[in-house]
Each structure stands twice: as C-alpha cells, then as structure tokens.
Symmetry: C2
Subunit: 290 residues, 2 copies
C-alpha cells in the first residue's frame, strides 16, 4: 500500500540538481496548495540531492528549513531546483526553490534554505537528561481524550469542497479552541488538537514539515475567517517522532501592521517536542499577497 | 559624526548585485564575528539592491530575514551577493549570500533570504487597535530601573579582550538574569535587559537585525559558558522602533539532541513589540560547527 503523503510528495531527479514533482489537488485549501505539503516536497528534493551529491554524510533529516512564499502554487507539474551550498561532517545546507512553469515562464513559488543532518546521530541521552533536569523540555498542552475532541472531517460540505486538504488529516481539535467552526471563536489565538494523517501513515521528520502548517490559521480562533497568506515560515525539526497520535498547538501572540506570527509546536505520542515552527502571515483582510 | 554601526555596516555596490563590505574587528566575540552585525550588513546590501533595481516600490525595511550560518566569518573584506527573486507591490524577496575570499576561494559564510517592504505603509491603526483589544500586543517584561541594572561593559578585562563586541553596546542586564557573570547563573534560560548602542545611535529596522543577536547566549544563564554556534536564525521586524532605550529578552525552552532554540523579543521605549527572532544553536560543548 502506498500512503497518500508518499504518493503525492514523490519527486524524480532530472539531473543538474532539479527534481520534478506533481502538486496533487487533494492538498488544496482555499486559494492555493497547502504550504506544509509544499515544504515536504522541498524536503524530499533536498534529501535526494544530498544523497546523490554527498552520499557518505548521511544527512537525511531536516534540522532547519526556512521558506519565503513568493506566489501561490497551483495543482499540476512543479520542480525543485537545488544547490548544495556547504557540506560539513554534521550538517549540510542546500538552497532549494520550488518553481512552476506558467505559460512558458518559470515562476518561483517558494524560496527555501534547508540545513540537514542526522537526527539519530545528534541524539545524546546524557545531555538530554541534563537538559530535562533543567526544565528544558517543553511539555505538551493537556488535551481532552480523543473521544471528546472534534473531527475536522466533519466540517459542512461547502467547507470540505473548498478545503479538500481536510480529508488528508485525522485532526481532532480540542473543543475549547474549536468554537470557530460553529461561529463561536474563543478569541485566545490558539488552535490545538491531536494529529495524525488520515490513512495513518506514520510521521517522520519530512512529514513534520507538513504537520507544522496543517491546522487552519489561528485567525479563525480570533474571529477572522478567510485566507491568511504566509510570507515566511521557518521549521525546526528537533527529534524523530515516535509512532502514534501527535499533539499540535498553534498560537498567535502579536498582530500588528496587518501581520501576525503563528508559532507551532508538535509533540509526539511520548510527549517529546519534535518540531517547532513560526510563520509570519498576512491578516485575512488582505485577500492576496500583492 | 558617524556612528560606529553606520561606519562598520557600510556597503559599496560593485555591480551585478554584489556589494562590498569590510567586517570590522570591533564586532568580534569569542571565535567569530557577531551574527547580528553580519545580518545588518546583509540587510543594507538587500536594501541597496532593491533601491537600485525596483526604486519605485519603496521596499526599504526588512520584514522577514532568514539566515543559515555556513562558516565563521573573520574581520576583513567580505561581500554580499544579492539576487531579487520576486518584487510585488507590497513585498520584494531577495536571496543574499555573505561571502569571504579565503586564499583565492570564495567561501560562503551566511545564506540568507530577505523579504522587504515598507513598515510605515504597513501600519494600520484601526487594525492595530482591534488586535490590541483582542490582547494581541505582547507586553515587555517588567525590568528594574536602569540604575539597578548591570552594565555589560563592566566585565573583567579578560572577557573584554575576548569580546570587543561588548564595547559596542550599552546593555544593562536585569540583575535577576545576570548572575552568570559572577558564576551564579539563574538556570531559568532567560537573559533580559535594557538595550542601546554604546554611542546612542538610534535604532531602526536594519539595526534591529543586530539587536536580535546582541545578548550573550541563554546557555550562559543555564550554567554552560562557551561558544554556542548558530545554525539558523530568523528575524521578523514588526514595526519601526521609537527612539530611546529598547527592552530585549532572550529565552530558551527546549534543549535536546545537542541543540537549543533561543527566542528573542525586542520592544521599543513605548512598549511596542518591534522585532522577534528565533535561532537554532549548538550547545556549547560542541566547540565548533563541523
């Protein structure tokens, strides 16, 4: 069996650092293709390029991936141009641009830099224990049991039509931050819940690049429905996730000048923080990034 | 009078998007040149390139700047290669790489992407008021008065020799998070204080790129002295700062796998959040990024 995520983020090396992909319509939400899905495709291209160019390093995992969103992607063919900027023993850094051809013109969609390494080799139980003793292990929020949470796939039909993306996830929202779905946003600027992929494809470091942008924008919880285009997103993968339900929290603390930041944290089923991300996004009143 | 910051971050366009700079020895700390100082030089190069290439847009301010640190810079000549990736009405995005020639080889130091716009045009008092009413204006920490804080330039002579950088700043540390200076770290993972440049050069959006990396690493407060090399740093400038003392807070919440994140927030003298940054850095035990 091939999982949806693997089928739809597959890439094919064309040579010269270029990797072809096909953006699948199932990952569309509102006016564009989900950003986290695109980051996972970029992550796959970077990993493949490093495997081809510096095979002995074993730099298979994203540690830090930064992405500036230049224009909205559309379903269909795309490609990732990669260039290895530096490769050391612990880390390699790659420039990667997601591009789509539009009427014969190459239009850049996302400009990215990615620093890859090996999360298993980076693990250091003694140092982790010392850090935990210092209180440096951010705990997950306490969520109600799965059965008391709200399934995103239960959304009304018109929402599901606009957001086929919802069908890819098995997100179960904490009801205390899901009131926006019935017109009663909590106005805390928080969205959180249990996360898994709809077909139970296990999470791994590349899939975490998707997870950090998988929930609706926190502006939904602030009573501002609508499209909130991302200007920039940085993801840090901190550990390889254990199998099972993950916990995801998105939070906004500052909105000003028409922009807001959205902080995301992801914990695995053992309560370990496995990814952090922050994005800077436009308030929904701006209908499009001009 | 020319301020130190303006003198030492000056750049000269060479053509083809290349901007020459000279990294000044006064910004050295420990094993390398301060990262925030280098980001300000990159910011100046991006601004100049946009002014030359898309002069009508008025995209003079950094909104989001991402930087992957590839190798340690040294005082002396350097240059920034820039390439405008996209320019729209509100934002332009530029790829910028800081490079130094080492024995005839061009060695990349920092790979960066920067999205610039106009902070004044982005201001929207009505929307800001609505956001503030929602509690979306992160307040600064309460600090003791200036006279009760600890001056960084009072460090012992051996520290000052290793860190000429300290002389560039007029930082006054909150004594509750300055115990590390006398061997008594608070172990909270927090460093905070009042900030100004030593010669009182007023802060502006480019200078904020320096401010977000101006304090010692939070690992000092965790009882781990030593060099903490940055892997990646993302800075978001949220507003043009008002004149006067700024407040800076650095905080670490998660250390794992030999890495820690350091979140920085900067408020201006009116209490407005003007910049946010997060960096992913190596724990001090790793003496160098290999």
């Amino acid at each position: 069996m091939t999982f949806e995520f693997d089928r739809d983020t597959a890439i094919t090396a064309r040579g010269d650092g270029i990797h072809d992909a096909v953006l699948a319509p199932g990952w569309v939400v509102g006016g564009g293709v989900n950003g986290g899905y695109l980051l996972a495709i970029i992550g796959n291209a970077v990993r493949d390029q490093l495997a081809a160019e510096v095979p002995d390093r074993g730099h298979v995992d994203p540690f830090a991936l930064t992405a500036h969103f230049l224009s909205a992607s559309t379903p269909g063919p795309a490609y990732v141009e990669t260039r290895v900027l530096r490769s050391g023993s612990r880390f390699s850094t790659v420039a990667a641009t997601l591009v789509q051809d539009v009427d014969g013109t190459a239009v850049p969609r996302i400009a990215s830099h990615a620093t890859f390494g090996d999360l298993d080799r980076a693990r250091d139980p003694a140092s982790d224990a010392a850090a935990a003793a210092l209180g440096l292990a951010l705990p997950p929020p306490e969520l109600p049991p799965l059965a008391e949470c709200v399934e995103s796939r239960d959304a009304p039909e018109e929402v599901r039509k606009m957001a086929p993306l919802l069908q890819r996830f098995g997100t179960l929202f904490d009801p205390s931050t899901a009131g926006w779905a019935i017109g009663k946003p909590s106005r805390q600027g928080v969205l959180q819940g249990w996360f898994r992929l709809a077909d139970d494809r296990p999470l791994d470091p590349i899939a975490l690049l998707l997870v950090v942008d998988a929930l609706p924008p926190t502006t939904f919880d602030l009573g501002m429905p609508g499209w909130a285009p991302t200007l920039e997103l940085t993801a840090h993968v901190r550990a390889r996730p254990a199998p099972g339900w993950a916990i995801v929290r998105h939070r906004t603390r500052t909105m000003a000048g028409g922009l807001f930041e959205e902080d995301c944290e992801v914990w695995d089923s053992t309560g370990l923080l496995v990814a952090q991300a922050r994005q800077l996004a436009l308030q929904p009143r701006a209908r499009d990034r001009a």
